[in-house]
Symmetry: C2
């Protein structure tokens, strides 16, 4: 049964928003909150919730700086995050192939 | 950006349980509640909630019969469900390939 193929399915990445956030961070070293907002078309609250959950899971790290006097928050995937996301995608891929 | 590839991502199928339920119904004409329970290792309440949500979305149909005097509830994928699930898997596949 295909469920074994989903052993590495990671609930932290299941939503469209989380898949999108992680895929962006796989190919960009870091991205600002506003760039994410624009790219994903999410509300501030929704985006912040997803980013915080990924941060709490240890999959995303947050950098807070100032550009001049303006605060600028950027996000990066951690090594753990990259590995877990890759495993999640591999699980999905194997699952889809198995159907 | 890969998000466009997720245009057909369907929230109704995002969880591991829903992916598993639908994949089973893609290859089985119908399955009983108890067979699902055994196969997926979900609690009655959890399984019932997922099946009801898929039924309410029009993706799963329910057949209630009696075997002798015992009630037997079975579930099938509807044509709409098969199509929507296929589109969801295609979206995931394209998304994964795009990363």
């Amino acid at each position: 049964m295909n469920q074994q193929l989903l052993a590495n399915f990671n609930k932290a990445f299941e939503s469209k928003a989380r898949l999108s956030i992680m895929s962006v961070l796989m190919v960009n070293d870091s991205l600002s909150f506003n760039a994410f907002k624009e790219l994903l078309g999410l509300t501030d609250g929704n985006l912040a919730t997803h980013l915080r959950a990924l941060e709490e899971a240890g999959f995303v790290s947050v950098q807070k700086q100032f550009i001049g006097r303006k605060p600028n928050t950027t996000y990066s995937a951690t090594d753990t995050g990259r590995q877990a996301f890759t495993e999640h995608l591999n699980a999905l891929e194997a699952f889809i192939r198995g159907i």
